[in-house]
Amino acid sequence: MTQQSRLAIWKTYKIYIGGQFPRTESGRSYAIKNSVGKTIANACQSSRKDVRDAVSAARSAWGGWNNRSGFNRGQILYRIAEMLEGRKKQLKDELMAQGYTATVATREINLSIDRLIYYAGWCDKYQALFSSVNPVASAHYNFSVPESMGVVGMLAPTNAPLLGVISLMAPCIAGGNTCLILADQEKPLAAVSFAEVLHSADVPNGVVNILTGYQQELTDWISTHMDINAIVCFDQEKPDWQKIQENGAGHVKRMFRWNTQQLLRAGGQSPYLIMDLQEIKTTWHPIQTIAGSGGAY
């Protein structure tokens, strides 16, 4: 048998929940076609139950992830970058199969890797910038610190199959949150391959969960889910931002709509995105005023 006649093994594109790769519990799929209309994969059409399971996994994972030191989270984000760097070719092929040129694909992958490194560096630094010791007028030690919100629902933008997912995930988990990401409906393959990268990078199960499927069908379930603390999407035509806001109001969900133009390019990264998904906790404790003798102190 010659090299050319060897049959390739086609990859099955599943979803990523709780550190596992199940198919959608609904058994449904939808065809992903390349630029000349040929079906290159059947992506899972995730259901509300997959959303439910993903949120459950993210919630279980949140306590442990939040308790890890910033240093540890940084090391893991750095490791994700290492693993992604090693998989450049695979992702480039996938992006090109979905219509991107070699140049654009390479640029997107390089930007994505560097973005991971960027946020890896923030994990143990944003606290120093955004905390404060507050000089209250009474004899109390008073300090404010950022704390993660919990489980975040994230809706990937169109036209940035890999960079979009990473731009959502990195600032979210750098700050100790866990997440569920709904990949771009039209071009979900890079997101699934990225899940494989996460899995090989010591990311604990459930910290990141990735679903593929129809945005319209799933957005309502995500925006009304009472155990999702915040939701992030991009300022594109879809999803329906008005509807999302109305849905979340019922349980005071935190809402963020990030700027596509600013973020999906080089330099589109900032610690303020980490801070979007942080609460602020302020603590008071008395100072028993006893001074040493001598000196104005």
Binding site: G70, G74, G121, I287, Q288, T289, A291, G292
Partner: protein, 482 residues
């Protein structure tokens, strides 16, 4: 019935092999290993065995100049121009390779300096690597570090490191300097150059552009030339207060920025409501970690009089279990004193303490026949005016004083020209926040001691020096704000 044999720990020696120490090291200048101009080398010995480990080059004024010029060229040609993101990635590489070569570095550090292998392995080397990880992340984020100011690099940083934590101190110096866009000429302490020289190998392996980091070995004179060189924009020194003052004097009138991390006489304060057993550990850690060769050692113990007797007895019982011996044995708690010189200094202070009337106590462990060793030593009935309560001994010798009230101990703790560190042991939060506010020292440890983290700024008040290393504040010494 046969008498039961006492259960002792068998020797658990670490192998010397991973250290891979070369017979001779040249100077690392402009990305290459270059012979010293004078052709002279000096011996580096293992203080635990007094055996020769390697030959180290002596850099003279010509070599110092070569190194500074290389750093200056590298700054102008490469380092100033490289994108901050790429700069960060170089530093990440250094961190990674240090993690990969951890064992080699740990064994070398122990052989060269005498500290227990357990400490090199579990503390020095990982913390050093983490320092590079931390500052790598700052390289492209400096716009956020100083509100309303742009952070500009300075140029060439001349750095001098001490012999107590050779690789860690090199990391504390080099990492923030590189992250903020400066290039480096570093002179390690002459008794412990080896791990810094291996760091040079790692920097070469990480493919940093030539001249970005230069390592010149030598003695005090080499360091002096470095501090005087006109093309050096910043000096960072960690070492004795005595030499720090000389350097500060040398720099008077120059434009060079300066940071100093000098000596200390840390007050470790135990209140009657302290968690007693853990406080005993804290005191032991405070003075016997690294054989007491620590600038922030808790070398003055202030114990509240009401619990003094009980506490001191527990302390004596505890230090009786400390194993002094071969640093390469994984069970050794206290290793070798760094040099014959330092051992002489310590012994002189022990003599002074006895002469001053303090009560001397040392454990009865057996010391190795060769090498420089000192038993864990306590002095009780020490008074504030005793020399052993005022002067830095830099060895495993603890001076113990008593106090009655908060205001008294605040006053006594502050009553020193030093101000590097202090420890507070109490169950009462309100007291912790009060003492933390009133004690004039740069690092306050409450219900713990000798904790270090790359994110946590470290540095002194008063004659313990100025400037901070670690954390956001650690960037400041290496930038010019505009």
């Amino acid at each position: 019935m046969a008498k039961k044999k006492k259960w002792e720990y068998s020797p658990a020696p670490e192998s010397k092999q991973p250290a891979a120490i070369a017979g001779r090291y040249a100077l690392f200048i402009n990305g290459k290993w270059q012979k010293p101009s004078s052709g002279t080398y000096f011996n580096s010995i293992n203080p635990a065995t007094e055996e020769k480990l390697s030959e180290i080059a002596t850099a003279n004024e010509t070599d110092v100049n070569k190194a500074v010029q290389a750093a200056k060229q590298a700054y102008e040609k490469y380092w100033k121009k490289i994108s901050p993101t790429e700069r960060g990635k170089y530093i990440f590489r250094i961190a990674r390779i240090m993690q990969e070569r951890a064992r080699e570095l740990a064994v070398t550090e122990t052989l060269d300096g005498g500290k227990p292998i357990r400490e090199s392995r579990d503390f020095d080397i990982p913390t050093a690597a983490n320092h590079f990880f931390y500052y790598a992340g700052w390289a492209d984020k400096l716009d956020f570090a100083f509100p309303n100011k742009k952070a500009n690099s300075l140029g060439v940083a001349g750095q001098i490191t001490p012999w107590n934590f050779p690789l860690l101190m090199a990391a504390w110096k080099i990492a923030p300097a590189l992250a903020t866009g400066n290039t480096v000429v570093l002179k390690p302490a002459e008794t412990t150059s080896l791990t810094t020289l291996k760091l040079a190998e790692i920097i070469q392996e990480a493919e940093l552009p030539p001249g970005v980091v230069n390592i010149i070995t030598g003695d005090g004179q080499t360091g002096a030339w470095l501090t005087k060189h006109n093309d050096v924009n910043k000096i960072a020194f960690t070492g004795s207060t005595e030499v720090g003052k000389i350097i500060q004097h040398t720099l008077a009138g120059s434009q060079k920025k300066l940071t100093l991390e000098l000596g200390g006489k840390g007050a470790n304060i135990i209140f009657e409501d302290a968690p007693i057993d853990q406080a005993v550990e804290g005191v032991v850690n405070g003075i016997f970690f690294n054989q007491g060769h620590v600038c922030c050692a808790g070398s003055r113990l202030y114990v509240q009089e009401s619990i003094a007797k009980k506490f001191i007895q527990k302390l004596k019982d505890r230090i009786g279990t400390l194993l002094v011996g071969d640093p390469m044995d994984k069970n050794t708690d206290i290793g070798a004193i760094n040099s014959a010189q330092q051992l002489k200094t310590i012994q002189a202070y022990i003599k002074i303490g006895k002469a001053e009337g303090a009560t001397f106590f040392e454990t009865d462990c057996v010391l190795p026949k060769k090498g420089f060793f000192c038993r864990p030593t306590l002095f009780t009935n020490v008074a504030q005016s005793n020399r052993i309560a005022k002067e830095e001994i830099f060895g495993p010798v603890l001076s113990i004083l008593t106090f009655r009230t908060d205001d008294e101990v605040i006053e006594k703790a502050n009553n020193s020209p030093y101000g590097l560190s202090a420890g507070i042991w109490t169950d009462k939060g309100a007291r912790i926040f009060n003492l933390s506010k009133r004690i004039r020292a740069g690092v306050i440890w409450a219900n713990t001691y000798h904790l270090f983290d790359p994110t946590s700024p470290f540095g002194g008040y008063k004659e313990s020096g100025f400037g901070r290393e670690g954390g956001l504040q650690g960037l400041h010494p290496y930038v010019q704000l505009s």
